[in-house]
């Protein structure tokens, strides 16, 4: 009697012990993002994007599953339906906190891989920790060129870098030239700190190599009260193409002043930055119709991965759609989830091998890349950007043609 009770008890214990192991197998993914400090807003949007990504893989979405296999629900099929768990840490906007939190996620939380870290400076120190511990890290947003030049074996980057953006403008403008528009004189107007200086020189270099002439460069102080002198200078020379590299307040000031002085170029390009800030589009959208910018995210055609995810994301955030940064972060997350799934294991070496073998098609991307495929240095060779145009105060994709949702309208309309 006692024996059978014991046996039954033992069997029950074994069951109790065994079931949770099967049901609760969890794969942890770490994310080290700015949840406080200067970039807290960006970091929190990225956090919501990751939470959405985890939810899509764990609980599925019927519409999305048709075009995005990982969204069938029920976790990662490659790991017998293991659920994903997001462990997010705050990098506080400092390289020190970024490295410390990366160490914690690796050693205490035992994450299978990391997405990290938005700011290039933090990605430098955090990736060094992941490299020493041999844990794969995928970066979706840092554009400093040297990140993939360090000979790291565990670091991968999905985003295009600054030079890729310049190449996109170059190709775009050459196509317009071939179509008969004038691009003989090009002016670059840029704010005069590191951001403006470096982006403008990257663009000027790419254009010089590609055979387009940058005829004038106008640096200015972003916090200046007035931009009339700069606009008058433009009005006098009347260039065919103007490229702006600005923050938000100065972008608004330029849009106002150009209307006041009633001058506009045939092609007006604004390199992301302030011109993509919702504050700019809400306030100045009506007088900058036809402004050209770039973004890796555009909603795309209905039923596409990007369009469906954008809708789900809007429900989660209460109205704000995916944008340039949140889409890039989310793409990095899906690359990691996909690799862990294919590896069928959380063993770092297997995940690393799976990341190296990544081959994601353009139509499976939430970001507007040509796909995801890494070179020996860990850089995504298919990273690319979309050229967008402002239409009724919203940016729509107009180039390249294969992913355009709306026709390109030139010359620049303005007001």
């Amino acid at each position: 009697m006692i024996k059978t009770t014991l046996l039954a008890g033992a069997a029950l214990l074994a069951l109790a012990g065994a079931t949770p192991v099967l049901a609760q197998q969890v794969v942890k993914i770490g994310a080290v993002y700015p949840l406080s400090g200067n970039s807290a807003s960006t970091g929190n949007y990225a956090k919501m994007a990751f939470e959405m990504g985890v939810d899509l893989i764990n609980n599925g979405n019927a519409d999305l599953a048709k075009v995005f296999p990982l969204a069938k629900g029920g976790g990662l099929p490659g790991l017998k339906g293991a659920k994903l768990q997001l462990v997010i840490a705050d990098n506080q906007g400092t390289p020190q906190a970024g490295a410390n939190q990366t160490l914690r996620l690796i050693t205490e939380e035992k994450v299978a891989g990391l997405v990290c870290c938005y700011q290039s400076a933090i990605t430098v120190t955090a990736s060094a920790v992941a490299e020493k511990y041999g844990v794969p890290m995928i970066n979706g947003e840092s554009v400093a060129a040297n990140l993939t030049e360090r000979g790291f074996k565990w670091f991968f980057r999905t985003t295009p870098v600054a030079a890729d953006f310049a190449t996109a403008y170059l190709t775009f403008l050459k196509e317009q030239k071939a179509a008969g528009l004038k691009t003989d004189s090009i002016a670059i107007v840029h704010e005069n700190t590191e951001y403006g200086n470096s982006v403008s020189s990257v663009i000027a270099d790419a254009f010089a190599k590609g055979g387009l002439n940058v005829t004038m460069k106008i640096p200015y102080a972003a916090n200046g009260p007035d931009v009339q002198p700069q606009v008058l200078q433009l009005k006098e020379k009347n260039p065919d193409v103007v490229i702006f590299i600005s923050y938000t307040q100065d972008a608004i000031l330029y849009a106002k002043t150009m209307k006041e002085l009633n001058w506009k170029p045939p092609i007006l390009i604004a390199d992301d930055g302030g011109f993509n800030d919702p504050a700019f589009t809400k306030q100045m959208g009506p007088v900058t119709e036809g402004l050209i910018s770039r973004s890796v995210f555009a909603q795309g055609k209905p039923g596409s991965v990007a369009a469906i995810m954008d809708e789900i994301y809007k429900k989660k955030t209460g109205g704000d759609g995916l944008d340039d940064v949140s889409a890039r972060a989310l793409q990095a997350f899906f690359v990691l989830a996909d690799a862990i799934n294919r590896a069928g294991s959380t063993e770092p070496a297997k995940v690393q091998a799976a990341i190296k073998a990544t081959n994601i098609k353009a139509e499976e991307c939430v970001a507007g890349y040509d796909g995801v495929k890494f070179d020996d240095k860990g850089q995504n060779t298919l990273a690319s950007t979309l050229v967008t145009q402002l239409k009724n105060s919203n940016y729509v994709a107009v180039w390249p043609k294969s992913r355009a949702t709306d026709p390109l309208v030139l010359p620049y309309k303005g007001w």
């Binding site: 949840l35 406080s36 807290a40 970091g43 929190n44 956090k47 462990v87 997010i88 840490a89 705050d90 506080q92 400092t94 390289p95 020190q96 906190a97 490295a99 410390n100 939190q101 160490l103 914690r104 050693t107 205490e108 290039s120 400076a121 430098v124 120190t125 060094a128 490299e131 020493k132 511990y133 400093a144 040297n146 360090r150 000979g151 790291f152 700190t193 590191e194 951001y195 470096s198």
Partner: protein, 332 residues
């Protein structure tokens, strides 16, 4: 009486074996090293800010110089980063003299303001200098080439290196504290005019303290670079770095030998743990908790935590005729 000897001895032993005790947890082991690193910076600040009472809020200048000297030694000369430390110390001493001669004449808040201004100036200069990597900053060796690069997986080597450096700085501070210069500095702190009237060359001794303090702060910067392998204007010259040195020293007890170390022992784990456990929620609770604890300590222990231990013997043995504490400074 014996407790007064046993407690410090026990603490010393604990400090020596801490990395071994935390072998299982890389996070806690690393936290030990971070406490020591912060204590090095705050103890260096303490020489001029605590003992001499000249509250510099621009010490990040020296921290940044140390870090940048190290990274420059690597990037432009191919040397191990730590080889830049002596260079950083030399530049810091020179710059301290340059800044100190005009600004140390200013009294009280004006000196603090001048140091903030210099700090911001240097930060802006660094962010526009191509040689220093501009706003993007510069990285140390991505992969350790030799052991001299001081790039380790475990925090244990850092811990012992930092411990030795901290012991050196505290030893020197102790020696100064007991010597003529220590008395001069405390006299200047209490009343510069009175000190001058007694023949203390106040300007010169404040400058010595400032130069010495700058040189050691620079060492903290060099060590930071070895551990983290990257520096940019914000993490080298940012005003928060200066502020943290001041807060740590004040919290533990400014002008006391172990004050900055005690401050670091409280603040660094507080910062790390609050970020680890609250940071992921993304509501900035970390800083609320961090700030609240500082406010509480400032409200109830304005002379720093060490003042707790100073008051005790007086209360416990009111009739004790001779407290025999020649080394305890002023409790202000």
């Amino acid at each position: 009486m014996s407790a007064r000897r046993i407690v410090p001895l026990a603490l010393l032993v604990l400090a020596l074996i801490y990395p071994v005790l935390t072998m299982e947890s890389a996070v806690y082991q690393r936290m030990g090293a971070l406490v020591l690193l912060a204590a090095i910076g705050a103890s260096a600040w303490n020489i001029v800010g605590g003992y001499a009472g000249q509250v510099s809020v621009g010490h990040a200048v020296f921290f940044g110089i140390g870090a940048y000297s190290s990274v420059v030694a690597f990037v432009h000369l191919g040397l191990p980063p730590i080889a830049g430390a002596p260079l950083g110390m030399a530049i810091s001493v020179g710059l301290a003299a340059l800044i100190g001669v005009p600004t140390l004449r200013l009294s009280g808040h004006y000196f603090s303001m001048a140091t903030i201004a210099v700090g911001e100036l240097v930060r802006v200069l660094a962010s526009t200098s191509d040689f220093l990597g501009g706003a993007q900053g510069l990285g140390g060796p991505p992969m350790p080439r030799t052991v001299l690069d001081l790039s380790f997986l475990s925090a244990m080597p850092y811990y012992y290196i930092f411990l030795v450096v901290l012991a050196g700085i505290l030893g020197l501070t102790w020696w100064i504290e007991r010597g003529r210069m220590g008395f001069y500095l405390r006299a200047i702190k209490d009343s510069e005019r009175a000190a001058r009237s007694l023949g203390v060359s106040a300007g010169r001794y404040k400058l010595y303290a400032y130069m010495l303090s700058g040189a050691f702060t620079s060492v903290a910067g060099s060590l930071y670079l070895c551990m983290f392998g990257f520096i940019d204007p914000e993490s080298g010259f940012g005003i928060l770095i200066s502020v943290k040195m001041v807060v740590m020293a004040a919290l533990g007890g400014a002008g006391q030998l172990f004050g900055p170390l005690v401050g670091a022992l409280i603040l660094v784990p507080l910062e790390e743990l609050s970020n680890s456990y609250l940071g992921g929620q993304g509501a900035g609770i970390t800083y609320v908790v961090y700030g609240a604890i500082i406010v509480i300590i400032a409200r109830f222990l304005p002379s720093g935590l060490l003042s707790l231990f100073e008051r005790k013997p007086v209360v416990a043995q009111p009739e004790a005729a001779k407290p025999a504490n020649p080394a305890s400074g002023h409790a202000d």
